[in-house]
Symmetry: C2
């Protein structure tokens, strides 16, 4: 039977939602190993909408779940309808959506809050000993959500974000873009992706390793 | 010296813009072989904005160039600023954007018109004997733009679209998702991608072949 993997999206675009390349690469490598994918996102407004050419805020409102459906080609479920029983593992691509929508880490740093539904699903996965993969900036949000178990994660080499992760109760390990960090006791796997880049072929290497490790950790 | 390849986008999302998976896979395979990518799109309003969960039209306006920047992580140029001298080849991913924004093929079928800037760049590439790659539904638009030279293309096996291509002056050849069709006299390479699917790993095979063939055809 194929393994079911949730992919938690946060919109559609690196500056206000999910990083598109990271999410598509995650879907590609999951499909390559025959996993069944369940794309999901919270039903909420984005913090804001960014013009990705100018990086300026646009006078618009967009919904995280509806915009995430662009990456999922329509097949996306409201996060509140899903529990740990529905999946064997969960992977969270990066992009500012993880730090602006799934949490407010981009605004508040270590004092951030994680969206209640995101916090719930992560806690359920941890309790069920089901693996969690987090890419790019998402490990910061995961650390806050699961601070009690002191996740060991990476976001690459960015010292400011690394310090914030330690402040939130996590342990940060430096990591190259082609590598992953595995917290085996908590079954949390992380990779820096576009926190380091530089290009899509480089982030693809780390994301493929992350996908394969996450699936290895499924009981 | 690395080859420069234009990637012509048409928005961000399969139902009203560029198909996201196809465009990201194009960027991945171009990066893997060391090509320099120039993402571009016309500066125009999308025909409409589609809610990708419900497929209903939303009461919004979005700009093709600005939305395309989401896929390009900000690095996208207005098509009108580029000519065939700026690139060695051009690739056009699919998605309804090719049939709603780059042309109105989705509305008018064989009677469609191609956006003036798109028609111009394709004519320039043809004249300069520089290769054109077209994915998914894009070959229909390319056929209309270059009808005078009777392009040999594929959109897979869809009989209605195939008939429309023949009506517009092209020749349609059936093709599997893992394969490509090469019109060697016009240097046009096409692959069905999500016109056939079924999944991202399947369309990735054809897109990788298309990217490699397009680069082979660069003088």
């Amino acid at each position: 039977m194929s393994k079911k993997v949730g992919v938690l999206l946060s919109g559609c675009g690196v500056f206000d939602g999910t990083e598109i390349h990271e999410s598509v690469l995650t879907l590609l490598f999951l499909d390559k190993v025959g996993a069944e994918v369940i794309c999901t996102a919270p039903d909420m407004n984005q913090l804001h909408v960014i013009n990705h050419m100018t990086q300026e805020v646009m006078d618009e409102k967009r919904n995280v779940l509806i915009e995430s459906a662009r990456i999922a080609r329509g097949n996306v479920l409201d996060l509140k309808t899903l529990g740990a029983n529905d999946m064997d593992a969960i992977i969270i691509p990066g992009g500012f959506g993880a730090a602006k929508n799934l949490s407010d880490f981009a605004l508040k740093g270590p004092e951030c809050e994680v969206h209640s539904q995101v916090k719930r699903i992560l806690a359920e996965m941890l309790k069920a000993k089901k693996p969690i993969g987090a890419i790019c900036i998402s490990p910061a949000m995961v650390t806050k959500a699961l601070a009690d178990v002191h996740p060991e994660v990476t976001i690459g080499i960015d010292t400011g974000t690394a310090a914030a992760i330690e402040t939130m109760g996590g342990k940060h390990l430096s990591c190259k873009v082609a590598d992953i960090i595995e917290d085996s006791s908590n079954k949390i796997v992380t990779t820096p992706a576009y926190m380091l880049g530089p290009g899509i072929k480089d982030v693809a290497v780390g994301i493929e390793k992350l996908v394969n490790k996450v699936l290895d950790l499924v009981n």
